[in-house]
């Protein structure tokens, strides 16, 4: 499988503090890449560096073989990379359908087309019955789904999910897991930050572990579970 995202020696400093230092890995087309690590490990910062919200302090991000450092988030979106937010960001006063239409309008200027795409995406995340509701009034589980639908409506080649299961009950989480797997079957590449270990082990093809901003380990879920360093730094802490 060809590589879609290549992260080469990416570092991000805030003042003197390194939120990411010298992180390298690559994501192949069609796979689900898990990104885990304790709180403050620099996962979300890495997402921000990849999606254009921060320029990396050092290193390069290559998306579809093109160096994308310094591009803005909206440009990344047009290249085919979109992210969701750990703390959901619905366009609160707009309807659910309008939220998703905003995503769809990245690929069209015609409202009818956008409306069709948006309606279809709402079906995919099973939120069609809430199309007319105001986004700000949705419960958390549906807001998370809305985030995913809105991102999908931009027709991404790579979807970055930032703790999309955070704060959900087991049934809702299971629904999201099924959705992620369904999207994978349809050929979408995904990179997932998640705290729920069981979930991430289930869905990921490969996993990168970050700790204190550095890459601690990388491998298939089974390797990660058995990695001594990971167990010591992260999983051990969870078990204990």
């Amino acid at each position: 499988m060809p590589t879609i995202l290549d992260i080469r020696h990416v570092s991000k400093f805030f003042g003197g503090l390194a939120a990411n230092s010298d992180v390298s890995f690559s994501v192949e087309q069609g796979m689900i890449m898990g990104l885990i690590g304790p709180n403050g490990a620099g996962k979300t910062t890495l997402f921000n560096c990849i999606t254009g919200f921060y320029p990396p302090s050092r290193g390069d991000v290559l998306f579809k073989g093109v160096r994308t450092n310094g591009l803005q988030p909206n440009q990344m979106c047009h290249l085919g990379m979109v992210r969701t937010w750990q703390k959901v960001r619905p366009l609160a006063k707009m309807s659910v359908l309008d939220n998703v239409m905003v995503g769809a309008l990245a690929r069209t200027t015609r409202l009818e087309v956008a409306r069709e795409v948006a309606t279809a995406q709402l079906e995919v995340v099973r939120l069609a019955h809430k199309a007319g509701a105001i986004a700000g009034g949705l419960p958390i589980g549906e807001r998370k789904k809305l985030e995913v639908a809105r991102a999908l409506a931009t027709r991404p080649a790579l979807l970055l999910l930032d703790e999309v299961m955070g704060g959900l009950n087991p049934a809702e989480s299971e629904e999201i897991i099924q959705l992620i797997l369904e999207l994978k079957r349809s050929g979408l590449t995904q990179m997932v930050i998640e705290h729920d270990m069981k979930a991430i082990m289930r869905i990921s093809d490969r996993i990168v572990v970050l700790n204190s901003g550095e890459k601690l380990a990388e491998g298939e879920p089974q390797q990660i579970v058995n990695d001594k360093a990971v167990v010591a730094a992260y999983l051990g802490e969870e078990v204990a």
Partner: protein, 366 residues
């Protein structure tokens, strides 16, 4: 934050009805001068229509795109001065001058946008105010170009020859028709913009800039487009205003109270709605015009010349008509942050709920 959301999905019939009502209202207003000849009424009409244009204009960038400019006097003043100076210094007729006013307004918006759109929240508000203030001071200072505080007095508007007819701009009548027509055009234009990709993008920016950006919206580009549209209409209203009142000076057209007034028109009616500025203008303009010149009421026959109200207003309030603006802002922000439209909507929702509750009670009883 527990504001009740407006209903989103509206049946198609409502839209058609809306269009008919809108057309009827415009036609009715068009016929008013046939029956009413009193200059005061026409004067009020012109100021009202200008306020509608200004409110709609501010609404594009402030209400829909969420960029709270309190410096729109910059575009208003530039429009007024462009039209006035072209006419007085170069004898260029205002119908060409207004085009230049719009061009200058848009140009200025691009400059101001480049500088201020990196800023958010109070910083953006401050920067927008500063821009208008810089222009005010510059127009006061560079007297050789602008005549400074002395300002410009309009001498005469040339006769317009169009379709083999002659149009004189001496009385208030022609201004009435021009501003009514432009106000209607502004409303329609705004409606079209809001029901297009642009409108969706503006609202997305208002709701959450980071989310909007991640969804492919170029923030600076779309904010600039919103500001340019807004500046164009504001500059247009400035040019017409200059021709109508026939005198402009820096403090009059670049003052911060001018900018505040534009915001007020929207916030009183309801920010980010098509009819909000219309309602806001209908509340604000009669109020401030009556306070400014209570003799008008006498002229219309609503008050007798020796009425104590007229005398009181004339003696005390006509200098301080902004006092009413101040009270209005405070009251609206505290008690009706979504404006008159928000109030109506809430009242409607309450009524509907009561009816539903009654219906349920009736059903339970049966």
């Amino acid at each position: 934050m527990n504001r009740r959301p407006p209903p989103v999905l509206r049946p198609r019939g409502v839209a058609a009805l809306e269009l008919v009502l809108f057309a009827a209202a415009v036609i009715a207003l068009w016929c008013v001068p046939v029956f009413v000849k009193k200059p005061y009424v026409l004067h009020m009409g012109v100021i009202l229509f200008l306020a509608v244009i200004q409110g709609q204009a501010w609404n594009v960038v402030g209400g829909y795109a969420g960029q709270y400019s309190v410096g729109h006097a910059a575009y208003f003043g530039v429009g007024a001065y462009t039209t006035m100076m072209l006419l007085e210094l170069h004898h260029i007729a205002p119908w060409w001058g207004l085009g230049a006013a719009i061009a200058n307004g848009v140009l200025l918006s691009l400059i101001i946008g480049t500088i201020t759109f990196r800023l958010r929240g109070p910083y953006f508000v401050l920067a927008s105010i500063s821009m208008a203030e810089i222009l005010r001071y510059a127009f006061l200072y560079y007297k050789d170009l602008t005549r400074g505080a002395e300002g410009f007095l309009l001498s005469e508007i040339p006769t317009l020859h169009l379709f083999g007819q002659e149009f004189e701009f001496v009385t208030k009548r022609p201004f009435y028709f021009v501003t009514l027509g432009l106000a209607a055009i502004t409303i329609v234009a705004n409606h079209l913009v809001q029901h297009s990709k642009l409108g969706y993008y503006f609202q997305a920016i208002r709701e959450d800039q980071d989310a909007a950006s991640s969804l492919g919206i170029g923030l600076t580009l779309y904010k600039s487009v919103a500001l340019a549209i807004s500046a164009a209409f504001t500059a247009l209203s400035g040019g017409i205003y200059a021709m109508f009142v026939k005198f402009i000076a820096p403090d009059l057209v670049f003052g911060i109270d001018v900018s505040v007034q534009f915001v007020l028109i929207c916030i009183i009616g309801g920010i980010g709605t098509i009819y909000g500025p219309v309602i806001g203008a209908m509340v604000l303009v009669p109020l401030s015009e009556v306070l400014r010149n209570p003799r008008g009421l006498v002229q219309v026959g609503l008050a007798s010349p020796d009425s104590s109200f007229v005398q009181f207003v004339e003696a005390h309030l006509s200098n301080a008509h902004l006092l009413v603006y101040g009270v209005l802002v405070v009251v609206v922000i505290l008690f009706a942050p979504d404006g008159v439209l928000g109030l109506l909507r809430r009242a409607g929702a309450r009524l509907r709920r009561r009816r539903e509750a009654q219906g349920e009670a009736g059903a339970a009883g049966a």
